[in-house]
Amino acid sequence: MYNFEFQKPGSIEDAVAALRHEDAMPLGGGQTLLPTMKARLASPTRLVSLGGIPGMKGVSSSGDTLIVKGGTTHAIVAREAGGVFPGLAQLASHIGDAAVRSRGTIGGSLANNDPAACYPAAALGTGATIKTDRREIAADEFFQGMFSTALDEGEIITEVRFPIPQAANYQKFLQPASRFAMVGVFVARFADGVRVAVTGAGNDGVFRWSEAESALSSNFSADALAGLSVSADDMIADIHGSGAYRAHLVKELTGRAVLAAS
């Protein structure tokens, strides 16, 4: 990888200032960015590690909300979120592998918005709020297509606030080489309705399957999905699976998630 200047600021303010430098990039756990830099697909001139900022890690809950700080690793969420939001802990415990989970962070995953990443499905599937150093962004506004988000250059995710569902489950059909989702579906049941978010499948990245949401809101059972389908034309098609294959998986995994959450 090309050389760069490494900085590890001790506060959000200093990190934001360090990121004003041209071609600077924030470094969370580096589990995506460092391999990308080794492949010379990214070559920032300055890397600003967010790992030295106090208060950027941790899981807590307040009323009906689970708060995960932006620099919290998947391993911490897997260990600590289970008491109040088991569906999220279950999702976090199957991201990548154990060593990846020790380093990778929720903020990094959401900011990168990989079309096959797991966390975007949980954020969109619960209607989470993404809090940054300067504002709050609703998940419905945050994800703007593959690798694209509402974040400005140098904007840092400081925490993610998840409304805690009555029941939730994430079903991931593993792409065995990358351990990303071939397709992943997050189903969350709230008092006022059901949300369904799909990752790994859509051409525009994570999306809500609104027909399934309506059907499940009136009848929370896999049978409610019987007459529904998603269009293969809107699905990713690559060497790992066709659009029709992914469209089939979306429905199948939604049904499994509903069963597991029932």
Binding site: M1, Y2, N3, F4, E5, F6, K8, L27, G30, Q31, L34, P35, K38, L47, S49, G51, A75, G96, D97, A98, A99, V100, S102, R103, A177, R179
Partner: protein
């Protein structure tokens, strides 16, 4: 830049390039070549070490980001008198290695697993080793070794 950390209980400090990977720091700057580089793309797990007690792929962490950390490598597992760690001894006893290239990463991942889950079942062991690739053993004897190291009987079916 100057970095300092504790590696296998010893304070070490060196001048490194900002882009120095932790694995190259360990192997080339400190001479701790027990940590292996199998793929350099975060796939194989041969470079797993412990950073502040957690398993980490040393090829996917910057040395500079480990400033102040407690790092443990395979060289830190055996006792000072050379007595093998229980996991190392179990790998030897149960033929958990053939060529040995993946073994340092396997041992470090196994140690992290047993810290988190002292009595894992076979499925949990296999799932935890998802990020460690072995091209010799077919994993069977590795799983047996970890079962044995955790003090559990090694199932007959796995003989």
């Amino acid at each position: 830049m100057k970095i300092s950390m504790t590696v296998n209980g010893k304070e070490v400090a060196r001048e490194v390039e900002d882009r120095r990977l932790l694995v190259d720091y360990l192997r080339q700057d400190l001479g701790l070549t027990g940590t292996h580089v199998g793929c350099d793309t975060s796939q194989c797990g041969a470079c797993v070490v412990h950073v502040d007690g957690e398993p980490v792929k040393a090829c996917t962490m910057l040395a500079a980001d480990a400033e102040g950390a407690q790092v443990k490598t395979i060289e830190g597992m055996a006792g000072k008198d050379g007595t093998l760690h229980a996991i190392q001894a179990a790998f030897q006893e149960h033929h958990g290695l053939q060529c040995g290239f993946c073994t340092p990463g396997m041992i470090m991942s196994a140690a992290a697993l047993l810290k988190e889950n002292p009595k894992p079942n076979e499925h949990e062991i296999r799932e935890y080793l998802d990020g460690n690739i072995c091209r010799c053993t077919g994993y069977h004897n590795i799983v047996k070794a970890i079962m044995a190291a955790s003090g559990q009987p090694v199932a007959i079916a796995a003989e």
